[in-house]
């Protein structure tokens, strides 16, 4: 009994940290599920403009990305700072978009899926419309009419319908 009273005087026992790994694992799984690994390495600056009238791209299989922007710092010395188009992992000229579209279409198994393809244009907000127009013209040439201007949700603006 004397022993017990002595212990009590020392204060509360240390909090058990046995559940700490579990908590951390839950956090880990959350982040693993929520975040998406970027498949391609970005070689262009890509600050998307903000907008409110956004539609979510539901079917990821049907989406192909076209990036447009100024080359990132490490590539400026080699490629200059004029805006460039990036397809997959490398810079491309606008006239290569047709081949890119056909290659992306060929990846899909059915014709219905090919018809429903969406090309998401991830364009830096500082890019001039000239190159964007060229890209759009190339897409029209190969009958890829469904496009999606990627944008960041604008939290500051009043969004009525979401």
């Amino acid at each position: 009994m004397a022993k017990f009273t002595q212990k009590g005087k020392k204060g509360l026992p240390a909090i058990s940290t046995a559940s700490l790994p579990d908590i951390i694992f839950i956090l880990l799984f959350f982040f693993m599920v929520v975040t998406v690994m970027r498949e391609t390495e970005l070689k262009v600056k890509n600050v998307l403009p903000k907008a409110t009238e956004l539609t979510k791209l539901e079917n990821k299989e049907l989406v192909s990305y076209i990036y447009i922007g100024e080359p990132t710092e490490q590539y400026v010395a080699k490629f200059g700072d004029a805006p460039r188009v990036q397809l997959n992992d490398s810079y491309a000229n606008t006239n290569e978009i047709g081949t890119f579209v056909f290659a992306e279409r060929a990846k899909l198994p059915t014709t219905e899926m090919r018809g429903a393809m969406v090309f998401a244009l991830r364009i830096d907000e500082d890019v001039k419309m000239g190159i964007v127009t060229d890209v759009k013209y190339q897409l029209r040439k190969v009958n890829a009419f469904k496009i999606n201007y990627s944008a960041r949700p604008d939290e500051g603006a009043i969004t009525q319908g979401e």
Binding site: K128, Y149, A151
Partner: protein
């Protein structure tokens, strides 16, 4: 001590588990980026050789939005800021013949957009966004008044129920305010 060993291997110390998990967590935090998979849907027109319709005859029903290479907006020859574009477009579309300068009816109204090759993409998208928003707000107002639901909600209802009369509602609203955004080939004055 010797007796303890006989009972079997001792418990593995699990206190470093948290550290390992932390390392993994930090790795994932650093390497992954949240991709915004959202955007403004747009449908491109097919390439045609035919000349466009005579614009002169329906001048009243056309709202011309011009953006120059200095990112300035001109709406029907008036200087307008981007913030006012939405209300301008709404007034023009929902005029129903009241003001002789604006459209006769929403289903005849066309918004024509022309930009320069030197226009910045940021502004271009903002203008697209505002015009889309104008249409959306008008459709919402109309749908609320007539059916008591917003346009988006009507679409959801029609999708879930699959009933013909729900689909008719959606079509009615969409037909009342058809989205007619036409884009002219950009000029190249200052790229």
């Amino acid at each position: 001590m010797a007796r303890r060993n006989k009972q079997g291997a001792g418990e593995i110390n699990a206190s470093s588990m948290a550290d390992i998990a932390f390392l993994l967590l930090i790795f994932f935090l650093v390497t992954t980026t949240i991709d915004y998979d959202k955007g403004i849907l747009h449908k491109l027109p097919p390439i045609t050789e035919e000349p466009p319709d005579n614009v002169q005859s329906n001048k009243r029903n056309t709202m011309v939005v011009l953006i120059n290479s200095r990112d300035q907006l001109l709406v029907n020859n008036e200087n307008v800021s981007v913030k006012k574009l939405r209300s301008r477009a709404k007034q023009f579309l929902n005029n129903n013949g009241r003001n002789p300068k604006w459209s006769v009816s929403p289903d005849e109204a066309i918004i024509s957009l022309q930009n320069d090759r030197g226009t910045s993409y940021g502004l271009y998208l903002q203008v697209q966004n505002e015009l889309k928003a104008a249409y959306r707000e008008l459709r919402d107002e109309y749908a609320l008044q007539k059916y008591g639901n917003k346009f988006e909600d009507l679409k959801v209802i029609a999708k879930e129920s699959g009933l013909a009369r729900d689909k008719e509602k959606v079509e009615d609203v969409a037909d009342h305010f058809p989205m007619r955004l036409s884009e002219a080939e950009p000029k190249s004055i200052g790229e």
